[in-house]
Symmetry: C2
Subunit: 343 residues, 2 copies
DNA sequence: TCAACGTGTGGGAGCGCTCCCAAAGCGCAC
DNA sequence: GTGCGCTTTGGGAGCGCTCCCACACGTTGA
């Protein structure tokens, strides 16, 4: 609990800079904050004093005075904590961090694992201890976004909860990525193209399935529900879904998996069944996660511009905080096919 | 640049709580901070008022008053930003976050990519904007630790820079892990056990090599320098080192690699050379990173208690900040053999 | 000449908290 | 009844900053 008493190291204050420069506090403050209402002479004098004294403003004092914290929180809820080890999370983090680099915003990282931590975070946010919040992949039923909205806390989601997401968000073009994947499969001459979906209560999973359907329809193929199996983004579910597909539609010669991890599971099922990849069955994933590169053979997949998404999220949040936002900004970034050896 | 003016939402202050509870400011402060010098009656009254008003203390104000920030920074320098996608980093993060969970410490994440960001961070730290710093794997020549020491900023390193690390640190038992690995290989009846080392100017790499030597010596085997090849922790260097080993010591029937990634490289070289794993050559890695699980066959490796390391780091830092530290606390945590299918 | 303006500048007030001194209240021994 | 010591309490001062009002200067126009 308690705040531990820290040693306090003496550092120059704005007041001291003012004395040194022979001006008033207000003037120094103006210079520090780049106000134009300062004469060049004075500004130079203040800047010299700042340099000599090695003055660095005290954030806490400023925060107290203006009611702003110059910090944003990046929240990672539990279900994602494992996803966390994926390049996905680190990509987002990188993008966010890069975008914040020439801002004086601080990035606060919060892992929300259980109910207690969730409450702590809610309290934290309610106390306006940050200027804004970045939410990594929320579930549709997560109450956090609504809380943020109710207290007017600027927030940007990574991914949408539904087609008409009321909050600001940055998403990748899931449907478009699926279309890319299926078109690629078609182009390779595959005839019976199946899919293993993610949990359909997640909007991203739904979009990927929609994209799959759309691409097939565009190619004039007729719907075949027996070629669609459902998973939940886990490896094990991918394996089971693939077995199901092999039983139900043994003619299947290509499968678009809504995640790389499920593709890894599918790969196993195919090996068990003695089917070669890509010889007999082509396989394509989604995410371009590290599994994809290390599979045998390496997995063709759909990459999302993850780092760019992180940047976009940070940018949108800063805009929202600065109220220079297009009301509820959002962006949907394009996906890209990474062709490896399973297709 | 500038701090953007944020909307300010009215929230109750300590003063208001005091009025509500019919007591003075000082008393409320005492209750909030758990001082024992408050009568039960008064405490109850204050707690009621706090609950009614939904009071949450203003951090900035407290920080300003006590000169403490209740935040620590986790710094990830560039060379590690890629390592970053590894479970390693997220494990540390998880451990740190878990340990901080019932503290009111905030975790600030800082990626230091280039010189500019480094300078920003140095200024940030010099301004005492955090109470302490956690450093993920520093290089021996990094000036940051010395800077931290000179400004008396509490800091804990992840890993040592040398055997006599002056700063507080948390490390895993690298030598011990290597011993485990080599003993395992010996137990499997392997005769010509080689190793692929990391860059020996890194202390961890040096320890792993020392452990390798120690285990062989303990088993009464004589030194054979031709069985030692050097890498730099990259996949490519592992591949090259393995080729070298195969040329120089074709009798090699087991290799301890100082990292999983190098083991993946070695695996490729073995495949090229037509050697089976584990039939002809047993392979063992270090780190238990995601590559290990996804290799074909899955790689036996040495796991570090990463999350526990994160926890230990946070604990050590909190102790240091609270000055309840055993002077320069440090911990070396045990490693563990994860047996899979390459041995 | 004077008023009316504009630009620069100083510094009081206040942000919400903690620290700490002084004082009130209480019991006890004399 | 008085004095002492303990516990409990109130509230002034101050942390370092920003905001903003007031004022000191020009400068301009009538």
């Amino acid at each position: 609990m308690g705040a531990v008493r820290g040693r306090r190291v003496v550092r120059p204050t704005l007041e001291q800079v003012a004395v040194r420069a022979g001006v008033g506090r207000g003037t120094v403050s103006r210079v520090i904050n780049g106000s134009p209402l300062v004469s060049d002479r004075t500004r130079a004098a203040v800047e010299a004093a700042v340099a000599e004294l090695g003055y660095v403003p005290n954030r806490a004092a400023r925060a107290l005075a203006v009611g702003t914290t110059d910090a944003i929180a990046l929240v990672v809820p539990e279900p994602q904590t494992r996803l966390f080890s994926e390049p996905y999370f680190s990509g987002i983090l990188r993008g966010v961090s890069a975008e914040l680099a020439d801002t004086d915003m601080q990035l606060l990282l919060t892992l929300v694992r259980d109910q207690r931590e969730r409450e702590r975070f809610e309290q934290f946010v309610s106390a306006h201890r940050v200027d804004g919040v970045l939410l990594v992949s929320v579930h549709g039923d997560d109450p956090l976004p609504d809380l943020l909205e109710s207290i007017e806390m600027p927030a940007v989601l990574n991914g949408r909860r539904s087609a008409e997401e009321p909050l600001a968000y940055v998403d990748s073009d899931n449907a478009g990525g699926a279309v890319l994947a299926v078109e690629h499969l078609i182009g390779r001459g595959r005839r019976a193209i199946g899919t293993i979906t993610g949990p359909l209560d997640m909007y991203a999973a739904k979009c990927r399935l929609d994209g799959y359907r759309e691409a097939l329809r565009a190619a004039g193929r007729e719907d075949d529900e027996s070629l669609i199996a459902h998973g939940d983004f886990t490896e094990d579910s991918g394996r089971r879904a693939m077995r199901e597909l092999l039983t139900r539609a043994p003619q299947v010669d290509a499968v678009f998996c809504a995640s790389d991890v499920m593709a890894a599971g599918a790969r196993m099922a195919l090996r068990e069944a003695g089917r070669t990849v890509p010889g007999e069955v082509a396989l394509i994933g989604f995410d371009d996660s590290s599994v994809a590169r290390h599979m045998d053979p390496p997995l063709t997949t759909v990459r999302q511009p993850i780092e760019e998404m992180g940047r976009a999220m940070a940018r949108a949040l800063l805009d929202e905080i600065g109220q220079r936002a297009a009301d509820r900004p959002h962006a949907v970034l394009p996906t890209e096919l990474i062709q490896r050896e399973t297709t």
